[in-house]
């Protein structure tokens, strides 16, 4: 009985917090555009979809962009038709608009995001650092089919992952899911073979070098166009594999980084370690 009262209070407290939150959200939802009311044209995304940020920038310079008071005239920005596999030399040549926002228009966010993942992995490795324990007695040895199957599957999964991040600017996908797919292939190797352990030196080098590659691509933009993470390559014809400038390069770096990092997380978490503070 003594123990139940705080439990009950806790539940009531939680429910009241949630109730306040729900009421607040309901109020906010009634006032915000939703469902049929959503209009992308009033938002900055319109410029990203039309790939026409440069024109908007020019009208910003001449003071026209915010002409009516402080209301931006995004709907007035010129519309030039974009045709798949035909239109060339757009300011951003990626057919997938989400990718062009993630890597190009808001590439700095993505650099930060890669850093967050890197830091999380660093934290995991720092906390689980220590002497590696000897593998305990195996209870079940995976069957031969499992052993061979995961090895064959791994190469297929690896190829698929690479496909996803190389085609990030054309099809849905990109560096993050591609890297995650590769990491799940490596997870399969762990399941298929007891005591499997990847090359740690290689993982570390991969992880660092791909991260460095990302920053260096950014710095090339800094030194050539004088703006960090600027797209310094020609954008080509929309829809081609060789288009969209540096997007493919960055997504390759991101894919390799995410893949090696997530593999490192899986590896660190699977291996039992003994802490040492000596």
């Amino acid at each position: 009985m003594k123990n139940e009262t705080p439990e009950l209070f806790k539940k009531i407290f939680a429910l009241s917090v949630i109730a306040v939150l729900i009421v607040g959200f309901f109020l906010a939802f009634t006032e915000m555009p939703k469902g049929w009311g959503v209009n992308v044209n009033g938002r900055v995304s319109r410029l990203y979809v039309l790939k026409n940020v440069r024109t908007a920038t020019k009208s910003l310079d001449s003071g026209k962009f915010f002409a009516k008071g402080v209301k931006p005239l995004r709907t007035d920005v010129a519309y030039t038709p974009i045709e798949f596999k035909k239109t060339a030399n757009l300011e951003d040549g990626a057919a997938n608009v989400v990718t062009s926002i993630v890597v190009d228009y808001r590439g700095f966010d993505t650099l930060g995001e890669v850093t967050v993942l890197f830091l999380a992995v660093s934290g995991v490795m720092m906390l689980l650092f220590g002497k590696r324990k000897k593998e305990r007695k195996k209870k079940t040895e995976p069957s031969l089919i499992m052993y061979v199957g995961t090895r064959i599957a791994f190469s297929v999964i690896l190829l698929f992952g690479i496909y996803i991040f190389v085609h990030g600017h054309l099809t849905p996908g990109g560096g993050f899911p591609g890297g995650a797919v590769i990491a799940s292939g490596i997870l399969g190797l762990f399941l298929g073979r007891r005591g499997y352990s990847p090359n740690h030196m290689g993982l570390k080098a991969f992880e660092s070098l791909s991260g460095i590659a990302f920053v260096i691509i950014g710095l090339i933009g800094f030194f050539s166009v004088h703006s960090f993470l600027a797209n310094f390559l020609p954008t080509g014809i929309i829809g081609d594999l060789y288009s969209a400038g540096f997007i493919a390069l960055i997504y390759i770096a991101v894919g390799m980084k995410v893949g090696s990092e997530l593999a490192a997380v899986v590896d660190t978490m699977i291996t039992d370690t003994e802490e040492e503070w000596s």
Binding site: V98, P177, A180, S184, L187, M269
Partner: protein, 84 residues
């Protein structure tokens, strides 16, 4: 029409999130969480967001759950039950 399918998925998601709350076993609440992620990634397809859907399926539903299970295995010697 597709909105009705989405509604069914939403109901399924909410049910599995409730399973995650009330299940006594940790493993089943982790699986329920994975199902929530999977359902949400399905909803992303209905919301015309294939990029997000693929990422959520690979990372949120796949790897996240896998890491959870691995971590659970490491602490399995002790308690796996959520003591109410």
């Amino acid at each position: 029409m597709i909105i009705y399918v989405a509604t069914v998925v939403v109901i399924a998601i909410i049910i599995s999130s409730l399973i995650a709350v009330f299940s006594k076993k940790l493993l089943s609440s982790i699986i329920a969480m994975g199902l929530v992620s999977l359902g949400v990634s399905g909803l992303f397809f209905f919301l015309q967001a294939p990029d997000v859907a693929i990422t959520e399926a690979a990372i949120g539903a796949g790897l996240s759950t896998a890491i959870f299970v691995i971590a659970l295995k490491r602490v399995k010697k002790g308690e796996t039950k959520d003591e109410e």
